[in-house]
C-alpha cells in the first residue's frame, strides 16, 4: 500500500477552501444578527422606580401585553421611538397593552430632564444600577422587548426605523390577539 503525502500546494488549497467557507459562514451569521437568549423564555421580573413616582413591578402585569423600551437621553432615535410607542399605546391600551420606557443613563438628572421634556403617557422607569438592563441583555439603544400575556419574551427589536415600526405594530397585534 503506497501512502502519498499531500503536497504543500494541496494543503494550501484545501486550507484556502476552508477559510473561504468559514468567512462566508461568518458573514451570514453576522448578517443574521446576534441571537437573543431570552426569546421564548419567561421575562425576568423586576421592580423599578418611575420618574413620575411610585414603583412598577413587571409580574403585576401578567395577562397584559407588555412592551419594554430601553432608552438613553443621548440617543436621538430613542426620542422618536418613545413618541411612536406612545401613539401605539393610545390605540391599543384598551386591548390590554402596557408600555414602559426603561432609562439606562448613568446620570439620573439627564434622564429626568429628558423625561420631563417628553410628554409620553406611559411610565418612564429608572434603572441606575443597570440590573434590569443586564438581565435583558441590552446591547443596543433603542431596544424594544415584547412580552406576551403569559409573561414570555416573544419579540425583540434592536433598532428603530420605519420598517421596524411596521413590524412592531404587526407583532403587537399578534400578541394582543392571542
Amino acid at each position: 500500500m503506497s501512502f502519498q503525502r499531500p503536497t504543500g500546494a494541496l494543503v494550501r488549497r484545501s486550507c484556502a477552501g476552508w477559510l473561504v467557507a468559514f468567512a462566508l459562514g461568518a458573514a451570514v451569521a453576522f448578517a443574521a444578527g446576534p441571537t437573543y437568549e431570552l426569546l421564548g423564555h419567561e421575562a425576568p421580573d423586576f421592580a423599578l422606580h418611575a420618574v413620575s413616582g411610585g414603583n412598577v413591578r413587571l409580574s403585576e402585569h401578567r395577562g397584559e401585553v407588555v412592551v419594554l423600551s430601553f432608552w438613553g437621553s443621548r440617543c436621538p432615535p430613542c426620542r422618536e421611538q418613545l413618541a411612536a410607542l406612545d401613539k401605539s399605546l393610545a390605540t391599543y391600551r384598551s386591548a390590554g397593552l402596557q408600555v414602559y420606557g426603561i432609562n439606562v443613563d448613568d446620570d439620573q438628572s439627564r434622564a429626568l430632564d429628558f423625561a420631563h421634556g417628553e410628554a409620553v403617557s406611559f411610565a418612564l422607569l429608572l434603572d441606575p444600577e443597570k440590573n434590569v438592563s443586564r438581565s435583558y441583555q441590552v446591547d443596543n439603544l433603542p431596544m424594544t422587548v415584547l412580552i406576551d400575556r403569559s409573561g414570555v419574551v416573544r419579540y425583540v427589536m434592536r433598532d428603530y426605523n420605519a420598517k421596524a415600526q411596521d413590524l412592531y405594530r404587526q407583532q403587537v397585534r399578534v400578541l394582543l390577539n392571542e
Binding site: Q4, R13, S14, W18, G25, A32, A47, N55
Partner: protein, 263 residues
C-alpha cells in the same frame, strides 16, 4: 503582496504541469475535493446560522410553510378518475378518501361525534395532579433551602398608613444588606387591607444577630421620609420570625416603625 507572487506562480505552474503531463489520477481527484468540502461546509454553516437565529429560521420556515398551502389553493390536484377513483374497484382506501368531496367527510364526522366527557375528566384530573405536585415541590424546596433549625423569616405589616406612604424597605442583617424591596401601589394597598408580606427568608446561625430596617416613602405633608428601626435578637434552635410593623401614631401625627420578635 509581493512576496506571495512567486510562490503563487510556482504553485500554478506545478498544477498545470501535473494536469498536462499526466492523465487524471488520484492526485488530480484529490485536488477537486477541497472546493467540494468547502461548499459542503458552507452549506452547513448557513444551516447552522439559520438554526441559531430564530428570526431567520422563522423567515425561512414561513415561505416553506406557506408554499404547500399556496400550491393547493392555486393548483388543486384533480382526482384522476382513471387512476384510483374507479367505481367499485377495491382501490387503496386512502386515495379514495382523499378523492372524496369534503362535504361527505364532514357528514361522516358529524354522524359519529366523539365522546369528550371522559377526556375532559382526565384533563381535570391531570390538572389537579399538577397542582398537588407543585405544592409538594414547594414544601420540599422550602424544607431543603431553609431548614427549620436555621430559618429566619421577616414579615412586614402596615396599619392604616395615613401618615406614611410606603415606597421601599431595605433590610440589613449583621450589617449586610439582604434585601431592598420596592413596593408598588397595589402591594401597599394590599398591606393596608391587612395583608402581611413575607419580605425575607434566609438562614442564620445560632447566636446573637442584629437586624436593621430602613423604611422609605412619603411622610406627612407628602414629604420624602426615611426612618430606620433596629433589633438585636437571639437566634436559637428553631425557626425565627420577626415582623416589621408600620403604625400611625395619632397623637404625634407621625408614623411609627417597630420590629416585633415572634417568640
Amino acid at each position: 503582496m509581493l512576496y506571495a507572487v512567486p510562490h503563487r506562480l510556482s504553485f500554478n505552474r506545478k498544477e498545470s504541469h501535473a494536469a498536462g503531463s499526466r492523465s487524471e489520477g488520484p492526485a488530480a481527484r484529490r485536488l477537486r475535493i477541497p472546493p467540494r468540502a468547502a461548499l459542503l461546509s458552507l452549506a452547513w454553516l448557513v444551516i447552522g446560522a439559520l438554526c441559531s437565529n430564530p428570526a431567520l429560521a422563522q423567515a425561512a420556515a414561513a415561505p416553506a410553510a406557506a408554499t404547500p398551502a399556496a400550491g393547493i389553493a392555486q393548483n388543486p390536484r384533480p382526482s384522476a378518475p382513471g387512476a384510483g377513483g374507479a367505481p367499485g374497484a377495491p382501490a387503496a382506501p386512502k386515495s379514495s378518501a382523499a378523492a372524496a368531496p369534503p362535504g361527505e367527510t364532514a357528514t361522516a364526522a358529524d354522524a359519529a361525534p366523539p365522546d369528550t366527557r371522559g377526556l375532559d375528566e382526565q384533563v381535570q384530573g391531570l390538572k389537579k395532579d399538577v397542582v398537588d405536585l407543585n405544592r409538594d415541590l414547594f414544601v420540599l424546596e422550602e424544607e431543603l433551602l431553609y431548614p427549620a433549625n436555621t430559618q429566619v423569616a421577616v414579615f412586614l405589616s402596615m396599619d392604616v398608613g395615613d401618615f406614611f406612604a410606603l415606597d421601599s424597605v431595605q433590610l440589613k442583617i449583621d450589617q449586610k444588606e439582604v434585601i431592598n424591596y420596592l413596593y408598588t401601589p397595589r402591594e401597599v394597598e394590599a398591606l393596608m387591607k391587612g395583608g402581611v408580606h413575607r419580605l425575607y427568608v434566609g438562614n442564620l446561625k445560632v447566636g446573637k444577630h442584629e437586624l436593621v430596617a430602613f423604611f422609605s416613602g412619603k411622610g406627612p405633608n407628602d414629604r420624602a421620609y426615611k426612618r430606620g428601626a433596629t433589633l438585636t435578637f437571639e437566634k436559637g434552635i428553631g425557626a425565627k420570625y420577626l415582623e416589621l410593623k408600620i403604625n400611625d401614631r395619632q397623637r404625634r401625627l407621625q408614623p411609627e416603625f417597630e420590629i416585633k420578635d415572634w417568640e
